[in-house]
Amino acid sequence: MTAPATNPPKTTAPVVASVRDLRVHFKSKGGIVHAVDGVDFDVRDGETLGLVGETGCGKSVTARSFLRLVPMPPGIPVSGSIIFRPRQRCSSCDGAGCPTCAGTGRVVSPCPVCAGSGCDTCEQSGAETIDLLTIPERELRSIRGNRIAMIFQDPGKALNPALSIRKQVAEVFYAHRSDELLVSAGIDPGSGSMPTTLLRRRATQQSRTLESVLLSLPPLRSGRTAISEAADDRVATALAETQIPNPRAVMDRYPHELSGGMKQRVMIAMALACDPDLLIADEPTTALDVTVQARIIELIKELQQRHKTAVVYISHDLSLVRKVADRTAVMYAGRIVEVGDSEQIFHEPEHPYTRGLIDAIPGAHHERGRLAAIEGTVPELIDPEPSCRFAGRCDYAASVCWTHDPTLGPVRDREVACFIHHPPEHGEAPSFDRTVR
């Protein structure tokens, strides 16, 4: 994996987000489902981290937790934390790229408490450190769509069928770039005059009915139109960036008039509109045709490199993730079982589950005949006992696997959660040499 010479190698780039011991449980008729049960991983600036696992392993819930989009009934308030270190535009080069920011155009925001010198709040990193799970709603809202963005699996469902493309994309600018809109419209955002206040409230989408009525009258009307046009310009630019042909025409359309690929481009445009530090992509190509998939993946890669955005790419398709992600985290039954460089994991998987996944991929190196499937099914995660969740399907399980939870531990260049690599103090440890099936 080669990185451009001016950028720091991705594997040692500073961490932009860090998931620590995330636990998300759900109330259900049968009991409490431990959908995500102790997940840890880091996302580094500018890298693509793949999050792989079969349906029901908790990867979507993990992804949604970043922006607190997990519905809280039936969800139960989580434990753990998701640490986020936002970036800001590099003041030396104004985002163009220079030695100060190592060519990325972005620097880490300094910690407001210690102004970058290092303190407890920022865990001695000097960077502004936010726990996404505990910050107040208002702060979270300023991060959503702005510093952290998300694209969803089915663009047909993720776009509001009743609103035009223009309205939906413009929302992001109104929410996070209202001052810029005002300036583009020739209005001074700092002024406290009545017309400016009304227009500013319009730009931030806070206008009440009476205000809207006032804004439709001639003196303020031109201001209102100017703001709309400023927004439209930005929408067109954002759409053009995702290679949507004829953006101005597409803007006026409604979601159902667009193809799946186009809709997903719109979603991507919305997500990258404010140049976020982190993009969460929840199976962005699963709902698309195969031919379109490839193009969308290419697009995401290209835009990611241009914006230097970190991406968490979620998928159930291991071979796809291999092509897309620098590093990969394999998830099973609510836990991470293996994390490391994508190519390395693919060539030398260290966890039995990962091995099974890779073996199951129909490929040239298999002879014609049976497909190698992993026996068994994902266990129900209701009030689980301490045990390795994969034990029932593992070819190498030993007695200790049934009584203790393995945790992630380092194995050469990566981390693996398995007793084969980290034998317990007591009890019989499993080994790759001893198959039990």
Binding site: R64, L67, L69, E137, R141, S142, I143, R144, G145, N146, A149, M150, F152, D154, K157, A158, L159, N160, P161, A162, L163, E171, V172, A175, H176, Q205, Y254, H256, M267, M270
Partner: protein, 337 residues
């Protein structure tokens, strides 16, 4: 364009339906006794009876009678109302205005309360406001208007004395001109605040009572559509963009939840229309409904016919409008059955 075809199709069918209704209505008048019974009295001689019957074409075959009647309707002659002792068309406008005032006030109450309550409850699913709304909705659909109105009267008029009965205080009503026939509008036009207050004060109780049933069904539909919409992915996607919850609710969820609610609003119009009959009886409101009720009791066929014809046409037109509005709102809808 599809919507245009749809409207066209409905418009073409409309007159046929109206003709069909008129046939039924006409048929009704020929059932059960002489249609001119109200104009006869015991003292008349048989020649006088025969003369009256000839005047109303009762000696001709039935289809011809229908033709006479239909032509009369087109020319604006809806017959003579025994109850009002005047031609139907002369009395109709004033009574229509009174009923319209009541119906519109009730509709305003029902739509605003219904949507408001439904949204409020839908956004707070399974919490207290939701349960209260659900009780209101369920009781609203089963509520006999005549009983509810009487109870409201007993509580608010007899015991609490907060609101008056009837449409107006006679002296105040007589003190202003009535260009439109709508008491509220006329008093505003005359700049007479006392009259306006009088008109509103008399409207409150009947409008709230009549609107209750419609409020219930609208709130119920609004609540359930909102709950459904809130589970859709685009709502989460909107939140992920950093929009305030209020905006997500208003612009995204509610906008889509309003669509099925619009059809219910149309349905509740029929509800309101029929409710005016009972409401006007109980609240002593001088409108079409009470006139119809009196006509029913005294066999005033002309009024009955006119009323059924009028309300059916109104009903058909409103349903058409509602369906078109719905089709316009939901561009994805496949129009036609």
């Amino acid at each position: 364009m599809q919507i245009r075809d749809y409207i066209l199709r409905r418009l073409i069918v409309l007159p046929f339906l109206i003709v069909g209704v008129s046939i039924i209505v006409f048929g009704l008048t020929r059932i059960g006794g002489s249609p001119v019974a109200i104009y006869l009295s015991h003292e008349m001689s048989s020649e006088e009876v025969a003369e009256i019957e000839a005047r109303y074409h009762l000696d001709e075959p039935v289809p011809v009678q229908y033709a006479y009647w239909a032509r009369g309707v087109f020319e604006g002659d809806l017959g003579w109302s025994g109850v009002a002792a005047a031609p139907v068309t002369a009395v109709f406008p004033n009574k229509l205005a009174a009923t319209m005032e009541l119906a519109v006030a009730s509709a305003v109450v029902a739509v605003s309360l219904g949507i408001g309550l439904g949204t409020f409850a839908g956004a707070r699913r399974n919490k207290l406001p939701d349960h209260i709304t659900r009780i209101i909705s369920i009781s609203g659909a089963a509520m006999p208007l005549f009983w509810f109105a009487i109870v409201m009267l007993i509580v608010f008029w007899v015991y609490l004395g907060w609101f008056p009965i009837g449409r107006s205080t006679p002296e105040i009503f007589a003190s202003i001109a009535h260009p439109t026939g709508l008491y509220t509008v006329d008093s505003l036009l005359a700049g007479n605040f006392t009259a306006f207050r009088d008109s509103v004060w008399h409207l409150v109780l009947p409008a709230l009572t009549l609107g209750y049933g419609a409020t219930a069904i609208i709130a119920r539909m609004m609540r359930s559509s909102l709950v459904e919409e809130l589970q859709e992915e685009y709502v989460d996607a909107a939140r992920a963009k950093g929009l305030a919850e209020r905006l997500v609710l208003r612009r995204h969820a509610r906008r889509n939840a309003l669509m099925p609610t619009v059809t219910v609003i149309g349905l509740s119009f029929g509800f309101l229309l029929q409710g005016t009959i009972v409401a006007e009886i109980i609240f002593r409101w001088p409108g079409l409904g009470r006139w119809m009720a009196d006509s029913v009791l005294r066999g005033d066929r002309a009024t009955i016919m006119a009323y059924v014809l009028f309300t059916s046409v109104l009903f058909l037109v409103v349903n058409l409008v509602v369906d078109v509005v719905y089709a316009y709102l939901d561009r994805r809808v496949v129009l036609g059955s």
